[in-house]
């Protein structure tokens, strides 16, 4: 049994005019989708290509959509911008021959066909942890996670390690909304309220739509007289809060460089020879600068960044919930 | 054209004139005019589908006439809804119970009242007042489902009078009642009549019409075909009145039905007299033996306990009893529809206790249910399929599980002809047939192809005289061919007319058996058991 090989004309072309990005949700998430689109825009501009995008396609019909995206005229590269798109991208590539960029799965890399973007998210988390530990008054930090997502586990792990590097006895709570509650803002709000009730005064929140709920909980708590700071991830949320001061910082993910690199590699015929990684070193991951990031904090994080870059600091890589729990308890 | 212009002194009158109401394919009421006077019992007679219920549902505001008008005390009115009918003081006891079983008597009575708050105190005192009038006392806080049938009817009447009725309409109120309950209903009616209320009374039984009614209107095919004014009623003897009514009801058809006397007799219009030529079956072999059967059931109402009897070849065994005393349970136990907790049933010596519906069916045990519309037939399937409903999957109609349409159709046509079922075609949906014809479909299905024992439950319930006669003939012919019949009925006349023996069921047990020897006291003896007497003699 088995099906025949893919059509013959399926090798990557270098003379394409259009790059396309497919994202699961809309641009308005203040996070993953927003930053991905922004990165794609910047990269298309830098490489003088046209960008088309299919946003908000969800996760349920990806195979077809990715195939369709690749079949559009002029398209020579598709960015499948979601951790769940990997397998579907492989099939779509097999059908169409157009190279895809997928996320998170280094082993899926196939030269000229499937490029992989990876994240050293734990590095950003580490810096955020330092900032949080230096800000907290209660010595209690909270992490809110909206879904069982590998990047959120690694980033949380880095956060815990960073915080403990400042103060080994610091207490960190981790709360989950649900296995796939990326957009559950009501759940996010409830979870963060519980964290605040438990005495946590710096909250690190990871989620798409759920972020709205996290921020709401922090905002309300502050209006009720608490002093709680919020750390965002991936994107910038300062326009969501009443008072920008409530946001301590954000672990920003900047895709511009990685995407440009991938496009240039295709043109040069060496696409997907190595993963496209976002880390502190290449500026793919960085802390957002805010007024709250005092010079002390900035100094500490800069120092840590150096340490990470030169290898003197190793950040744990907790890619599963079990790893994270182990790190938290031990 | 309209009813005779008798003007009862100081009594109001509701007059209907030219009422016409058509349903798709039938004109249920065709230009009917009549006057209903206060202080009179106005009987409405007619065969099934004559349009009686339709006419009163127009009076009750449940249907709107296509044309015609209604006037109360000479003032034209529109009765647009049941509420409007109530406002005019028209109360209705419908053919089917309208009590909500899960509500208490009092709640049922208050249902539909205006105003925000429930006025329980006032309602209770009003109920007491009405109870006096009806000659019944009912616990207002008991659930409607816990009432006996006769009591339910009294509550229905009380409910109909709740709004201070000037007109009470009773649609076939006696079909579910025992003789004594019918008697007390008659008493209630005379009391209400004396209070000045008008009463419309619908029945299929001519004797009731004569004894309880002051005047009679006969409908046929939606038209008014005859009437007896109070004066005329008084001037006629019972037999004369009946003859006149029957002539109006059936007109030329009467010739087909035989003489007036026999038609009337079959309808239970005269004293039932069992045929003299009844054969003695006791010498024949026993076909069905029921020994100590107790059913698995939740409520007293439906289960049976420790029932034993045996039936001989060619025998009709009647089961008498007040409705709801385990008749349905008995029928279901025999047909295999209800599980048995203890006891045995054997057919011709073979134990069939553990067999299910289908195996018993194949062995020749058949059941004609009393719920012909929802249980006995599937309304949206064709007549043909309904005729073969109990032989689904059997050769030659199904081969290798696949239907053989020609065979099905041929068999259906055969049965339709044999049992003279009136249907446009075998493919007509059975739900569109008339009640009598649906009953024929059931009988055709159950009586043929190797039936040994057939259990029939209220086979003539709600049917008109002609249909009743037909069903009786079919059952008698079946028994004459050696078949066994378990005839469950609430009509004593019917039982006496058909049965060889009559068992009386009460609270799920057979409390006594009466040999139908043709003696004049059979009814009395059965009645004795029904009222609660215990069996001393067993035969």
């Amino acid at each position: 049994a088995g099906r025949g090989t893919a059509p013959a004309n399926t090798s990557a072309k270098s003379d394409f005019t259009t790059v396309t990005i497919v994202t699961p949700a809309t641009e308005s998430d203040h996070g993953w989708n927003q930053m991905g689109l922004a990165g794609a825009k910047a990269a298309a501009k830098a490489t003088s290509l046209t960008l088309t995008s299919d946003t908000n396609v969800g996760y349920d019909n990806t195979q077809t959509i990715l195939t369709q995206a690749a079949q559009k005229s002029g398209v020579g590269f598709v960015i499948a911008h979601a951790s769940g798109f990997g397998q579907a991208a492989a099939s779509a590539n097999a059908k169409t021959g157009v190279p895809f960029l997928i996320t998170d799965v280094p082993t899926a890399q196939v030269k000229d066909k499937i490029g992989v973007i990876t994240f050293s998210a734990q590095q950003g988390g580490y810096l955020a942890g330092i900032a949080a530990a230096m800000t907290t008054k209660t010595n209690k930090l909270g992490i809110a996670i909206s879904a069982d997502d590998v990047n959120w586990f690694t980033m949380s792990g880095g956060f815990i390690a960073g915080a403990k590097s400042v103060n080994p006895s610091i207490h960190v709570d981790v709360a989950y909304i649900g296995a796939a509650a990326y957009d559950d803002s009501a759940g996010g709000k409830k979870v963060v309220q519980q964290l605040i009730a438990a005495g946590d005064d710096v909250i690190f929140g990871m989620g798409d739509g759920a972020t709205v709920g996290y921020v709401a909980a922090v905002d309300e708590a502050n209006q009720a007289g608490n002093k709680v700071k919020y750390i965002a991830d991936i994107g910038d949320v300062s326009d969501l809060v009443t008072n920008p001061n409530e946001v301590l910082t954000s672990v920003l993910w900047v895709f511009d460089g990685a995407y440009s690199q991938a496009i240039n590699d295709i043109k040069a015929g060496k696409f997907a020879t190595a993963p496209y990684n976002l880390d502190l070193k290449n500026g793919g991951i960085k802390l957002q600068k805010t007024a709250d990031m005092t010079s002390d904090i900035t100094a500490a994080t800069t120092k840590a960044q150096k340490g990470i870059e030169d290898g003197s600091i190793t950040v744990p890589d907790t890619s599963t919930k079990a790893d994270l729990t182990a790190l938290l308890n031990g | 054209m309209s009813a005779s212009p008798t003007l009862a002194p100081a009594a109001g009158v509701i007059s209907l004139s030219g009422i016409t109401k058509a349903f798709p394919g039938v004109i249920a009421n065709d230009d009917i005019s009549l006057d209903i006077l206060n202080g009179q019992v106005h009987c409405l007679l007619g065969e099934n589908g004559a349009g009686k219920s339709t006419l009163i549902s127009i009076l009750a505001g449940m249907q709107f006439p296509d044309s015609g008008s209604i006037a109360i005390d000479g003032v034209p009115v529109t009765i647009g809804s049941p509420k409007a009918a109530m406002k005019f003081g028209i109360g209705v006891v419908h053919q089917h119970s309208t009590l909500v079983p899960s509500l208490t008597v009092l709640e049922n009575l208050m249902l539909g009242e205006g105003g925000l708050m429930l006025k329980e105190k006032r309602a209770a005192s009003r109920l007491e007042e009405l109870s006096g009038l009806l000659g019944a006392s009912i616990d207002p806080n008991i659930l409607a489902s816990d009432l006996a049938l006769g009591q339910q009817q009294q509550v229905e009447i009380a409910k109909a009078m709740w709004t201070g009725s000037r007109l009470l309409i009773l649609d076939e109120p006696t079909s579910m009642l025992t003789p004594s309950a019918i008697e007390s209903l008659g008493e209630s009616m005379s009391r209400l009549k004396a209070e000045g209320l008008g009463i419309v009374f619908i029945t299929h039984k001519l004797r009731e019409a004569y004894t309880m009614g002051d005047c009679v209107t006969v409908l046929r095919g939606g038209r008014k075909v005859g009437e007896l004014t109070p004066e005329r009623m008084k001037s006629l003897t019972e037999a004369e009145a009946q003859a006149e009514i029957l002539r109006a009801m059936f007109g030329d058809d009467l010739a087909a039905a035989g003489s007036i006397e026999s038609a009337a007799e079959l309808a239970g219009a005269t004293e039932a007299a069992p045929e003299a030529s009844r054969v003695d079956v006791t010498g024949r072999p026993v076909r069905l033996q029921v020994a100590g059967v107790t059913s698995v059931g939740k409520s007293m109402d439906v289960s049976v306990t420790d029932i034993s009897f045996s039936i001989h070849e060619g025998e009709i065994f009647g089961i008498a009893g007040i409705d709801g005393h385990g008749q349905a349970g008995l029928a279901e136990v025999l047909s295999g529809q209800r599980a048995i907790a203890s006891g045995t049933i054997s057919l011709e010596g073979a134990d069939i206790t553990r067999l299910g519906v289908r195996s018993r069916q194949e062995k020749g045990v058949r059941y004609v249910t009393d719920d012909r519309l929802h249980e006995g037939t599937v309304g949206n399937l064709s007549v043909a399929i309904n005729l073969l409903l109990k032989r689904i999957g059997m050769a030659p109609f199904w081969r290798f599980g696949q239907i053989n349409k020609t065979a099905v159709n041929d068999e259906a046509k055969r049965l339709i002809t044999q049992y003279t079922i009136r249907t446009p075609s075998p493919s007509t949906r059975v739900g569109t047939l008339s009640g009598g014809n649906i009953q024929k479909v059931l009988l055709a299905r159950e009586l043929g192809h190797g039936a040994r024992v057939v259990v029939v439950n209220k086979p003539t319930y709600g049917l008109d005289l002609k249909s009743v006669r037909l069903v009786h003939d079919l059952l008698r012919a079946f028994a004459a061919d050696g078949g066994c019949v378990v005839l469950i009925s609430t009509e004593l006349d019917e039982l006496i007319e058909l049965s060889d023996r009559i068992g009386v069921i009460s609270r799920g047990s057979i409390v006594g058996t009466v040999q139908n020897d043709g003696g004049p006291d059979v009814a009395e003896r059965v009645g004795h058991y029904m009222i609660g007497g215990r069996a001393h003699d067993n035969d």
């Binding site: 809309t26 641009e27 308005s28 203040h30 908000n56 879904a147 069982d148 709570d173 981790v174 709360a175 989950y176 909304i177 649900g178 296995a179 559950d184 803002s185 009501a186 759940g187 709000k189 409830k190 979870v191 519980q194 739509g209 759920a210 709205v212 709920g213 921020v215 709401a216 905002d219 309300e220 009720a224 326009d239 009443t242 919930k321 079990a322 729990t325 938290l328 308890n329 | 009750a60 449940m62 249907q63 809804s81 049941p82 509420k83 109530m86 419908h94 309208t98 009590l99 909500v100 899960s102 509500l103 709640e107 049922n108 208050m110 249902l111 539909g112 925000l116 708050m117 429930l118 709004t163």
Partner: protein, 286 residues
Amino acid sequence: MLASIGETVGEQSGVLNLGIEGMMLMGAYFGYVVALTTHSTWLGMLGGLLAGAITSLVLLVLNVWLGLNQIVLGIAITAAGGGITTVLYDQIYSKTSPRIPTDNWKVPGLSDIPVVGHSLFSQPAMFWVSLLLAVIIAWFLVRTNWGLSIRAAGQKPSSLDAAGGSVMRTRSQAVLLGGMLSGLGGAYLSVLATNAFTPFMTNGLGYIAIVVTMLSRGKILRVVIVSLLYGLTIAVGTVLQLTSLDVPTDLITMLPYIVVMIVLLIFGRDVNNSPVLGAPYTRGAR
């Protein structure tokens, strides 16, 4: 809880509303929009209530009046509720996801009561309002003619009709009330609980409401208890999370449903709903 109370009234009258999820979403979205534009939480709640009511009109006209299939309509309403709110939200607000300014919602007067007042009446004010509503509605169902009519419409509509009541009017009121309460419940989620709207934010709560209703078997008091129990299982879930045990998140999400199933298996077997639940009523149908 609000939604379940609404559903209970509906089911008592013989209307099975599978569209609650859609009604809640409509309530949530329009409550949000109103609160956002008027800066008033009260008006927002009212907006949600109205949106729920308007959505229930679909069910009212097509099912109660015209007698169309309730299950199909329920699914349609859920689909439409989700679709409409998401399309509109994406169209109008998704770029900015504005939040409703928090004015700590207080029961006027009550929250000024020293000590107890603040804790009891400021945050979970809506809880008390719901409780009050529950009590009022329970009282109405048992004590008034209206309640009697609702119960009769669910048990035996022909009786109500014959008794001069209007099945159509009674069921209409019940459906409308159900819609309002669902809408209010939805608005609570967006206007009070989150101060924001996110697509599909009800997350199956509508179905939970139906389950709660079924478990409560028509008794409002039980709705309250069951709702609280449900809330408790969720809270237990979150506590489990905070204890940092390695419990699969999915298990925690599943918990309330598993509890429901166990309850059903052990106690709820003979859940007897209204006998005519789901069946439209047409006068004189045979």
